[in-house]
Amino acid sequence: MTFLEDLLTDLPELVGRMRQHDVRHVSLQNGTGALALTITANPCQAPQAKRVPPAEKVEDTPVLSPEMGLFRQHGLSEHQTVRNGKIVGFVEAGALRLPVTATADGKLSPAMVEDGSPVGYHDILFRIHPDG
């Protein structure tokens, strides 16, 4: 592997460290190549900072299926803002139609399963991304 390929492989880690120590510019070189790196001040505007999205996901609250059954949509639009306790779908378990309720305030993800498909006990049906 060349010096440049090595560096590119390690780029996510390098960027992470730069952010950690608030370093905006880096330039590196050896006999075979050179790299100059400038990163933006705001991590939210930096799509190349791969570490950020997983961190956001951790904050998402999963909405679990209350039972094994058939999932039914509740006609909510994608990314609709919901409040904790709001009914976001249903699970039909035999003769029962059980409500699936939001477990936090925030933006509701699209349903993870299709309308009318089987879901298991405590399967994740939605995620709620916190407001703001």
Partner: protein, 451 residues
């Protein structure tokens, strides 16, 4: 109805993996169910679909007939394979499966009921010419003096047993006539509490019997075969630890006659699927104790000696196919032994759940391991402690014992306590080397070596 090809595996652990393998071999669509505690079970990576049916507690997952049936509906399963334990011998479940238009890999609910009740099972066996212990034809009358007259006629020692029971509960050994009344009363109370059925019956008590059993297979066309005998005498508290096939030191002709009678009994009652007739053997005589209307933990020793894949045959029978062989085609070869590896303290037998840090399977000629273990697997505390079955096949019993010893010493399970050290020790015990021990052998040995 379309061809039944979708199999729901209503079990967990090693047996769920065993059934999955059979499904894959036959090209059937397999559906794995699991509790919330079992999402990382090994067979779930191999099945075609999975569904979580409930929380960790078995009563709300694997033992909950309504949930298992709902899973079968949601996944469009045609066949339900119950494995062993859980719902495998539950006649109400079998009936519900039948009513839902699905097929249970096993006998009908009516047969399960017939054989599940010890009294009606014994009556059926007597009718079919299968040998039984001298004992009561029916439940003992509630009137104690009437019961006393009947029991005096059977003779002592005798054993009072729960009609609806098993596993040693609702059982009392009566050595003399004077102890009878107390024994009946306590057995009734225990049976009522444990099985919801206080009926008890009495039969002659054998002092030093061996546990010998006959494996059968019966199809829906009325064909039935027996696949040889197993000796499962090494037990602790009615739980088998080591099983082997064939049963040594018994006239093969006597076993063949018994096997024929068992196969005939299957045909007579209309039995379908795999099953096991269990007997006590003492002084050259077999006495029927019960029939297990399901696959058994120890089925691999019969598979090793006959070369027949019992689980595949179960599935083919459930699909309505006739047996592809007759009794004349069945040969048994060599000797097979199975050691049950439990996640238990080898001295106290206390369950030892936890994380398996390292798992190294033994190998070599004639070695088979049926297990759901892998590095990092966490044995949950919610279920049975069986984590692996180590099975060996040798040209004769000595060869098999040597292979078992070598395989046990090669096998590595770190992180949790297992019964492996006990098995290693047993492989060198003179009683085990010689064979033909009674069902009391292991407990007597443990008592002798207790500090």
């Amino acid at each position: 109805m379309r061809d039944p090809r979708r199999v729901l595996i209503a079990n967990r652990g090693e047996i769920a993996l065993r059934i999955t393998r059979a499904c894959r071999l036959l090209g059937l669509h397999s559906i794995g169910i699991h509790s919330e505690a079992d999402a990382s079970l090994a067979h779930l990576r191999l099945v075609d679909e999975t569904i979580c049916i409930g929380p960790a507690a078995a009563s709300h997952s694997y033992l909950d007939a309504a949930r298992v049936l709902r899973a079968a509906e949601l996944t469009n399963a045609d066949i339900i394979h119950p494995g062993y334990g859980f719902l495998s011998e539950n006649a109400d479940f079998a009936e519900a499966v039948e009513h839902s238009g699905r097929i249970l890999a096993g006998p009908t609910a009516a047969i399960m009921r017939l054989m599940g009740d010890k009294i009606s099972a014994k009556q059926q066996m007597r009718r079919s010419g299968v040998p039984c212990l001298p004992g009561t034809e029916n439940a003992l009358p509630t009137d104690l003096s009437e019961a006393q007259t009947i029991c005096d006629a059977i003779g002592y020692p005798l054993i009072v047993k729960a009609a609806g029971g098993g596993g040693g509960r609702g059982m009392r050994v009566v050595m003399t006539a004077a102890d009878l009344r107390d024994a009946i009363e306590t057995a009734r109370e225990e049976a009522g509490r444990a099985f919801g059925n206080p009926s008890v019956y009495a039969e002659r008590f054998l002092q030093h019997p061996r546990h010998i059993e006959i494996q059968v297979l019966a199809d829906r066309q009325g064909n039935a075969v027996w696949l040889g005998a197993r000796d499962c005498s090494i037990q602790r508290r009615h739980q088998k630890l080591i099983e082997e096939a064939p049963a040594i030191g018994i006239d093969p002709q006597a076993i063949a006659e018994l096997g024929e009678r068992c196969a005939k009994a299957c045909t007579l009652m209309g039995y379908t699927g795999a099953g096991t007739f269990e007997f006590l053997y003492e002084d050259g005589a077999f006495s029927f104790i019960e029939m297990n209307t399901r696959l058994q933990v120890e089925h691999p020793v019969t598979e090793m000696t006959t070369g027949i894949d019992i689980v595949c045959e179960q599935l083919l029978i459930a699909m309505g196919k006739p047996l592809s062989f007759t009794q004349a085609d069945i040969r048994t070869e060599g000797h097979a032994i199975e050691c049950r590896i439990n996640a238990e303290d080898p001295e106290s037998f206390r369950p030892a759940p936890g994380k398996v840090v390292n798992w190294r399977a033994p190998g070599g000629p004639g070695v088979r391991v049926d297990t759901h273990l892998y590095d990092g697997y966490v044995v949950p505390p919610n279920y049975d402690s069986l984590i692996a079955k180590l099975i060996v096949h040798g040209r004769d019993r000595t060869d098999a014992l040597n292979r078992m010893h070598a395989a046990l010493s090669e096998m590595q399970i770190t992180g949790i306590a297992t019964t492996t050290p006990l098995h290693l020790r047993l492989m060198n015990e003179p009683g085990v080397r010689e064979g033909s021990v009674s069902v009391h052998y292991l407990e007597a040995l443990m008592r002798k070596s207790a500090p």
